[in-house]
Symmetry: D2
Amino acid sequence: MIELVIKNGKVVFPSDTIETSIAIDQGKIVAIGSSSIMPRGVKSLDAEGKFVLPGCIDPHVHVRDVFMGATANDDFFLASKATSLGGTTTIIDFAIQKKACLPIDAVQERRAEADGEVVIDYSLHPSITDLTPETIDQFKELIDLGLPSFKLFLVYRKDGLMVDDGTLLKVFEETKAHGGLVGLHAENVAIIDYLRDEALRKGHRKAIYHAYTRPPITEAEAVNRAIFLANHLNAPYYNFHLTIKEGVEMFREERKRGRPMYAETCTHYLVKTIEDLKGSKGINFICNPPLRQEEDQKALWKGLADGTVSVVSSDQVAFTAEMKKLGEDSFDMVPNGVPGHEFRLPILFSEGVRKKRININRLSEITSTNAAKIFGLYPKKGIINVGSDADIVIFDPNLKKTITTEDSLYSMDWYPYEGMTVKGYPVITISKGKIIWENGEFQGKKGDGEFLRRTISQDLLRTPVV
Amino acid sequence: MIELVIKNGKVVFPSDTIETSIAIDQGKIVAIGSSSIMPRGVKSLDAEGKFVLPGCIDPHVHVRDVFMGATANDDFFLASKATSLGGTTTIIDFAIQKKACLPIDAVQERRAEADGEVVIDYSLHPSITDLTPETIDQFKELIDLGLPSFKLFLVYRKDGLMVDDGTLLKVFEETKAHGGLVGLHAENVAIIDYLRDEALRKGHRKAIYHAYTRPPITEAEAVNRAIFLANHLNAPYYNFHLTIKEGVEMFREERKRGRPMYAETCTHYLVKTIEDLKGSKGINFICNPPLRQEEDQKALWKGLADGTVSVVSSDQVAFTAEMKKLGEDSFDMVPNGVPGHEFRLPILFSEGVRKKRININRLSEITSTNAAKIFGLYPKKGIINVGSDADIVIFDPNLKKTITTEDSLYSMDWYPYEGMTVKGYPVITISKGKIIWENGEFQGKKGDGEFLRRTISQDLLRTPVV
Amino acid sequence: MIELVIKNGKVVFPSDTIETSIAIDQGKIVAIGSSSIMPRGVKSLDAEGKFVLPGCIDPHVHVRDVFMGATANDDFFLASKATSLGGTTTIIDFAIQKKACLPIDAVQERRAEADGEVVIDYSLHPSITDLTPETIDQFKELIDLGLPSFKLFLVYRKDGLMVDDGTLLKVFEETKAHGGLVGLHAENVAIIDYLRDEALRKGHRKAIYHAYTRPPITEAEAVNRAIFLANHLNAPYYNFHLTIKEGVEMFREERKRGRPMYAETCTHYLVKTIEDLKGSKGINFICNPPLRQEEDQKALWKGLADGTVSVVSSDQVAFTAEMKKLGEDSFDMVPNGVPGHEFRLPILFSEGVRKKRININRLSEITSTNAAKIFGLYPKKGIINVGSDADIVIFDPNLKKTITTEDSLYSMDWYPYEGMTVKGYPVITISKGKIIWENGEFQGKKGDGEFLRRTISQDLLRTPVV
Amino acid sequence: MIELVIKNGKVVFPSDTIETSIAIDQGKIVAIGSSSIMPRGVKSLDAEGKFVLPGCIDPHVHVRDVFMGATANDDFFLASKATSLGGTTTIIDFAIQKKACLPIDAVQERRAEADGEVVIDYSLHPSITDLTPETIDQFKELIDLGLPSFKLFLVYRKDGLMVDDGTLLKVFEETKAHGGLVGLHAENVAIIDYLRDEALRKGHRKAIYHAYTRPPITEAEAVNRAIFLANHLNAPYYNFHLTIKEGVEMFREERKRGRPMYAETCTHYLVKTIEDLKGSKGINFICNPPLRQEEDQKALWKGLADGTVSVVSSDQVAFTAEMKKLGEDSFDMVPNGVPGHEFRLPILFSEGVRKKRININRLSEITSTNAAKIFGLYPKKGIINVGSDADIVIFDPNLKKTITTEDSLYSMDWYPYEGMTVKGYPVITISKGKIIWENGEFQGKKGDGEFLRRTISQDLLRTPVV
């Protein structure tokens, strides 16, 4: 009993794009082929002239982030509704261990916030902050529960997120032993602190000093160290938000040598630069690592094109300009992070595909397929093929739009991409066979999303599969 | 109007294998999906429990080879019929320029032999032997005619096939200028001649001296030189029949550096060794390059598994044991080459997939997809996808068979794989939607095959795409 | 007016060893040549059958070390007397900045202890522990004063020696700007602390756990990080006491790439192993980095032979077994460091030259010439040539000796090399033309040694000169 | 009994330059030191303000070359007299095997021409042209006779010098087995022939086409091949007259990997370029490999400075402009080779030391020490040290001179360096203790030079010693 047919779209497969139709039944894709063989009388969507892509996956979002005195104005219902408008059908957020608690507690708390709220499927990366013996004992359990990817922070001492190299090495060891993957926020906090203190001592307070006191070497050293320790244990490594050309080169080298190293960058690092920190709204653009130079953007795009950089995520944090003002007197007091996850796909299409930096198939890989493979959701998610979940975006390559803050579903008072014009925009989002957004109308349902248990392929943990 | 449905097979896609069905119309695949949506009342094949693979491509065959005094007992009808029994639905043979003639003449002569005879589609690699100014003028024309791949021989001086480095460099230059690809038979003839003369002077005449006088360095030096010259011009390179571990390493390095270098090996180098030259029928196994050591086999399998070696061809030559006797008194007088192309797929399945050296998806790449991409036939050939030619093999993974000389359609008096038992065998071959072999019954038709015009993707000529 | 002639010794030049004679006047070498031309009637030493080497330089000693509750039983007179018995004619100790004081203060204090006491020439490496703005201002001054080499500690937090990456990067920058060289004690303290706490929690207290909680990765990571930061600034780097095979490989690679990276190891890492920590006197052998495996020794010897490792120092600390007992209940409480600098040359001769790991010329480089060049004393020190200081050791290759604790001039109650038999021993030490030791008789004079101002060659700071 | 004292010169040692004096007795250096200790009453030379260098060695000269229809106007007396005027005290010429004769015959013939004629010491490189079994048997004998270095030509087919890869590989094997070293004239003759024939067919005859038909790839490929074959056998390799930047890079890489690869270039490649072939006297500058671009010169100088290129030779051939006219109608008929060996040292001093590309110590290495070490003459030749032959040049760094053809001792009608002004010139040449040139007066004696038996150090054949 076919429920839905998507007709005659330009369907994006891993290495081809073919004009054909897709039949969906019980939330799964059951057939791909000429419209002539598709059953009649069932609901159908005409996708002629449009791209039909696997639903996007965003493996790096912070819903309702509480950080540096600010609390983001969102929740799992709002965030999942907002991002699905932009073509995302799966998110992976974090479950951050509290000091003296266990990681599993954080998972349960976070699930309590999300289950019944999300409109699309989701999962969580446990984040370790306190490596007690009891915590160590829990790695196997977490991985067996379908949470095989971990995040550690090498920064943010004061907030208690930061871990040191002792913890890092041990976590690499434990995750490797049980088939997991470690991802890092990699910056060298000692050098940053030195430079920040020096800047403050000299009276520098403006937003641009956020970038000046976190120069590329502060990220490069941490990435290099993470790679070194991972290589020591022959362990895989995932680098959240890589931003610098030196880092792209490191991943290129490691991957050439067959090492399972995966780099992610974020939308804003591809379209915003250090210049944005110099304006009157500079503090709004404060995020970590900071925005970089054009030459870094270039290297990131090249890395995305040649396979070195595997994923573009959003690193979404819904801080308003109002909250950012907590640090209006000094760059080091600004709550970090930028919003905008709804615009990931259209921005990457306009800046990537239209500008011929990447083709449509590669766009689909970096926004969907690769994250599915790396985090253990493939082939359920991340591909249009018979048997996969019917998570699909229909994308009109000719729809033009100028981004405004009002477009946001969040009650925001600024948007990093305000004023940017994109050509190419998602028009329909389908999650597990159901249309949740159609031409700007929300048709999804709170709680239709489910928690996803994940298993990472052993191959991917051994060699650079994507 | 669907003509044929293949039901419920394990369909082998580039990175997945999915149990599903395929609908075919007018020689093309028109749908892939659940059998429930497939039209009823049309002819269907039940493929349950069987692999459904894209038809194999053999880019290295010598039909009716005339060489060293022998003439192979076949023609294009017989050869194409025989190979399609083994799952091959496309072959690429050679059109060898005669001295003082033009390459296009050789193409026309060869087409006259093949057109109307072949039961499956075919194409030709022009082979240059006499680089006159008129020949140079013809590269663009040949490429525009759909013949963008060239073969040069660095050996066989006496028979007039051999070219020197002057010709080689110029052909690299001309093909690069017009979007073509050069492939070589790469051995160092000066070292081989020195060693052969020394062996003969010492009275060594046995078959094993064929291998002893063509040690790995004779191939390694030529491969290294070819790569060096190609790199000088930033040109792509295809290496016919790579046989040595040193060569695998070279391709691994070049490809890591992003160079568009493609290596092919042949079935016999993966299952036969230098030991086969020592027996009483040793001369039958004489081919160039010679059979190698087990450690070379191991390196070739590893290269196939990790993506370094892109293609397994047959290098088919149908010389009988009777013809081989021309050289029974001295290894240097034996007509080179071995038959057996019908067994390529089942041997690679048994030795590769069953022994877990490669998986079924990689098997499909090295026998079909990669050759299609490299030689400019993709996505018409080389993949099961909506819109592609319906060239399909249905392969029973449990059918067991012991190879005998009598299995050959050729009237052969020996077979290199005689006595070898394989588990897994093709049961149905479909060419452009028509069943040509079904359970050992030939249902094809002389002349149904067509000459294929090819265009190689510019990407593939610039970076190691497969 | 020639004062002294050394006759007919086997004089060790950088790449040759020649039987010839040396004439000395006013503390300098004034001629090298056949004894027949040497003036008669002046004091002469018959060196026939003996090696005549440039006086050894020890760039890593801790005189009267105060550390972890212990104070070494020596002073500059005793230490310089003791080491010159073993052929050393120049030492470089440290001037460790006290918190809230300036580096120059430490230099002055240390000079006050040494001047008028030393029997041989000496110099100091300033050690930075508190990088205030005033300290930063002092780099140029220190370098101009002849103190161009600095040492930083990445360990020993509790004792206040440790600096973090912020300080490290800044010191690299400042020293590079003014023509200086940074050396490190490179270990990763966070990993060590993690492993130590884990071991203590599990009740492990024995000496061997000192090594188990400082495994090779704890040194390797720090060395890798130091090299990475130095490369970022294109700065030179000197690694005090390298002990691991991974580190040797890193220096080999960097030096191949033309980077001015210099590695030092110490006598004990070449002849003692982790096994020495397991015995009843295990705690005596506690030093940082810890003793390693035989495979590390092998790599260090190979690095010394092929030019990768440039220097062997002593890292002399005169802690008695009595003092070591401060940590008899727990490995982490043992004062670190081992004595034995008197035996550096004879041990390296017996273990290096006699065992054919290095030749006599290389022995002279790693104990004298290279340290002279790296630390800016060459060609005044470190070579036998006309015009150089007459710092000379006459070494009898056939003198056999079994080392006992009683041999030490210090009032020691243990010696790491107790019981070791060496063949080859210094018989005469000459400092600036004066015999200070002759066959075990001290003839030197307190205060004859001078403070040496040093200037490092710009070439050496740019490329791996030695 | 001292015979001669050289007083107060700036004596150039391997890594230092020291103002001191040298005493000589019975042809050897017997002392180095302050003039005050030198015996009075013996003949002395005042070298104050002048450099005192080890006599130069020229390992690549062609005395009385007979080639392409021309015969050079010199003999061993004239050539050795001429070159010693320029500071050279040892030459190594060739003994080229005649087809169907043995290498030893060529050695004997060549010695018959040289013995009793040379004014300075000399040796010979046997050159193999006909690798018969009898020739193979002679390698050990030649090496034992003190002739351990061999030269092969990969070019000059018509003149019978050329060998192919079969011979090359075998000669590498035999020389390695017995402790010898193979040197090549490395160019790819097949590519050159192709380009030459194409040029001639198009009517290009001018001198510049000599260079156009031997582009860098023709040398690069041959050098790469030679290195590949040498590496296959783990054999050492010496490259005569390297001229291209690509080649410098290859040697840099191989040497970094520890391979015993030695590159030589010649004076003219460092100061002349392809532009010299364009003038009216262009044919005079025809030599093989041809003159190159400025960027190649730059790479060669850099290679000399950083240790990649070990030797500068002359490749002296005394062809007159009159002889060169044999090819005035067509570049391919011009006898190859240029004269000028007298000017090697002053040109390299002016262009190298004065222009700060190399220092005086490196100048001495590339003109003397390195050739002595590579070809087995060290420490008898190539260094100023006690015990070495008293082969010495006294060089006035301030003597200015404009080179004219009339300066040549040969009756030449052109000179490649005509009109070039150098500052710095040899004023005295001493061979084995005897002054043979003093301020332009010849004081040497025909026959005072001797044939040198050589033994190459095994270290040098294993690792890149110089």
